[in-house]
């Protein structure tokens, strides 16, 4: 086991922050604040990537951090903010029932995530790989959010937070995917958000709101 240096400790702390933000998102009902939380998640992600890059002396991770900064902290939130304003849902309040239950399920998911990560972390050659459990927890909590929410906009936020969790998993376990693949992933994500934007308008045009409860007509009959 290599010695635990300062940068690694900070990255581990940031991983904890990532998990906390995920829980905060789970309980947040305002669309606007959710988006701000997503931006924070991006900031934490960029910081941790830069730290990992600095401690492991990997230039390509700097590029990947820059790409994340550009995409997840600047471009995507900007698009989503503009969409929110255009759709007039900035102050939307989503009634959330059973926040305590949601939190409890979330806690169980975190425990499950650490169990799932056990075989990989047991073999960890770097201390960083130990944070895989947190990455999986962020992914599972985002799932929970997508499942629990009934608004199109919040589901998209959940989707992006899921993507953040995946990115975190990739940087900490493997020092990031190869650069070309990351570029491809970034392009896909950008296109996905554009399409989500188009969808918001289509859904509102047809259903007069972004509530997904109305999207329940296709059932087995």
């Amino acid at each position: 086991m290599p010695p635990v240096n300062m940068a690694t400790q900070v990255v581990q702390m940031l991983a904890g922050a990532l998990l906390l933000i995920s829980f905060a998102m789970l309980a947040e009902r305002r669309s606007r604040r959710l988006l701000i939380l997503l931006v924070w998640q991006g900031v934490v992600l960029v910081t941790s990537t830069v730290l990992v890059a600095a401690s492991a002396h990997l230039t390509h991770l700097y590029y990947s951090a820059a790409l994340t900064l550009l995409l997840k902290v600047c471009v995507l939130p900007l698009i989503l903010f503009r969409l929110m304003r255009k759709l007039g849902i900035e102050r939307d309040n989503e009634p959330l029932v059973n926040v305590p239950t949601l939190m409890l399920v979330g806690l169980c998911l975190v425990i499950f995530a650490f169990g799932l990560a056990q075989p990989v972390t047991a073999l960890a050659t770097t201390v960083l790989r130990k944070t895989l459990g947190i990455a999986i927890a962020v992914i599972l909590l985002s799932f929970l959010m997508i499942l629990a929410r009934r608004k199109a906009f919040t589901q998209v936020i959940g989707f992006l937070s899921l993507e953040n969790g995946l990115f975190f998993a990739a940087t900490t376990t493997t020092y990031g995917m190869p650069m070309v693949v990351e570029l491809g992933m970034a392009l896909d994500l950008l296109v996905a958000v554009f399409i989500f934007g188009i969808f918001f308008f289509h859904i509102r045009e047809q259903f007069d709101s972004l509530d997904l409860d109305q999207l329940e007509s296709l059932k087995e009959d």
Binding site: L116, L123, Q155, T173, V181
Partner: protein, 484 residues
């Protein structure tokens, strides 16, 4: 070089059609693009037959008998679907369901979708495979919602979220795969995600990490294959999207996703030294087959009916790959080909049938043989073929799968037989009244393109009676590669 052509034509076509897609001749441009892609694919096939497996561009692309046959199949069905959609979309436009702007979106995205699938098939890089699969989802989401009806928007949203989440799991699996490989092959720039490199060292990959990676990859790509219990998006997307899109989703996209699963299975088999990956495929496959065949009875919508039949057949193929071994793999590859040709032919015929009667509800579709005999015959013969009637090729592959199951896993045989019988009853009892009987529907404003239907069914019939030795050899080689 050939790979460049295979990928370049649809990409160029997509760019061109993004500009001229609303013009009258757009459908012809699309057909020409698909034809060029098909010819390029034929060149690629010739090259592989002559020179054997190849890699290109710093090994970023890799062609072997397994994927080259899927490339040829994809290009062929892509071409016939483009031919079919020319009159089909014209009829839709004259029924007022589509505007020129949406036609442009349709033609351009169709070609982009083709390019994405061909990239997923030919790339050697597991990361790129993921990117291409995601691209295939993104390019079809707006096609599913092309009619902008409530149902189609709901279906597209479901498709987007479910496949988006599924594919995210596959990305996590890919990251884990990279973790396992990095220690052996080195990091950035060392090609640790290249399938050929991974395949060379698969025996030394850390089994626990690989096991976990395979579970995520299977569930992730399995969502796109439509394996139960993650199949929910599939019937909706097939029923609500335009028929040519249903045909390529069912006939091609499911195959490409399954291809990704099998590539991962080859690696996992080597790393785990156990039958676990095979058993997982068998479990998912059997569950999908049984579930889908019972759901078939509850369908009233013709396209939903055949969408469930696709889930059933993908289940059978997955099950066969799970059994592994030369015969089961051979049968699975054959079944992939037969299913994709038959199912797209059925969707072509079903699409025109719904245009004739103006509804997708099967109890309203009547007397197809009276009003338009070739549509009726297409639907009838296609239905019989997909139900596994001899002498069609589906019978051959299903028979091979059943006898292998009887030999290796006798417990599974009765389950499969019951599922097949249930599916037979469900589809046949719906098909008969649609084809026979009387009707007062009016004929179509443009004559339909039924040549693709009969070409597909002709190939399926031929393969049932006589598989050319060269083709059989090719399947055998591919089956050998998959091993298991």
């Amino acid at each position: 070089m050939e790979i460049l052509l295979v990928l370049g034509f649809p990409l160029l076509g997509a760019a061109l059609l993004a500009m001229v897609g609303a013009k009258r001749y757009a459908a012809e441009v699309s057909v020409a693009t698909s034809l060029a892609t098909l010819l390029a694919a034929a060149l690629l096939v010739l090259r592989i037959i002559r020179h054997g497996p190849m890699t290109a561009w710093n090994e970023e692309f890799f062609i072997d008998p397994f994927n080259v046959f899927l490339v040829a199949l994809t290009a062929l069905v892509g071409f016939t679907t483009a031919v079919f959609s020319r009159p089909y979309m014209r009829i839709e436009a004259s029924h007022g369901r589509l505007t020129p702007g949406r036609l442009r979106l349709y033609h351009s995205m169709y070609q982009l979708f083709m390019a994405a699938m061909l990239l997923a098939l030919t790339t050697n890089n597991m990361g790129f495979m993921w990117v291409a699969m995601e691209m295939a989802t993104l390019s079809t989401v707006l096609l599913v919602s092309l009619y902008r009806t409530r149902g189609s928007i709901e279906a597209a949203w479901k498709y987007f979220i479910l496949c988006g989440v599924g594919i995210a799991l596959a990305l996590f699996g890919t990251a884990l795969l990279y973790t396992a490989a990095e220690d052996l092959l080195g990091g950035e720039g060392m090609g640790a995600l290249l399938w050929t490199h991974l395949n060379a060292v698969k025996g030394q990959l850390e089994p626990r990490v690989m096991g976990m990676a395979f579970v995520f990859l299977l569930v992730g790509y399995g969502t796109k294959v439509g394996l139960a219990p993650l199949h929910n998006w599939l019937p909706d997307a097939h029923a609500e999207g335009p028929t040519p899109v249903s045909a390529v989703l069912s006939g091609l996209l499911l195959n490409v996703a399954l291809y990704a699963v099998i590539r991962c299975k080859i690696l996992a088999d080597g790393a785990l030294h156990s039958t676990l990956p095979g058993h997982m495929l068998m479990g998912f496959g059997l569950l999908s087959t049984v579930l889908a065949s019972f759901f078939l009875w509850r369908q009233r919508d013709i396209k939903r009916l055949f969408a469930y039949s696709s889930i059933e057949h993908m289940g059978i193929i997955t099950f066969a790959f799970g059994m592994g071994g030369p015969i089961a793999n051979f049968a699975a590859l054959l079944h992939m080909t037969m299913h994709s040709l038959t199912k797209s032919a059925i969707f072509f015929a079903a699409g025109h049938a719904t245009q004739l009667s103006g509804t997708q509800r099967m109890d309203k579709i009547r007397g197809l043989l009276t009003i338009h005999p070739s549509v009726g015959w297409g639907l009838m013969l296609g239905g019989l073929a997909i139900l596994g009637m001899p002498p069609f090729g589906v019978f051959t592959s299903e028979y091979l799968i059943l006898i292998t199951a009887m030999r290796d896993h006798p417990w599974a045989t009765p389950v499969l037989l019951v599922a097949l019988a249930v599916a037979f009853g469900a589809i046949f009892s719906r098909l008969q009244p649609m084809v026979y009987g009387d009707t007062d529907d009016k004929p179509l404003p443009h004559s339909p393109a039924l040549v693709p239907v009969f070409i597909h069914l002709g190939i399926v019939l031929m393969m049932g009676v006589y598989i050319p030795p060269a083709l059989a050899e090719w399947y055998r080689l591919a089956a050998q590669l998959i091993g298991g």
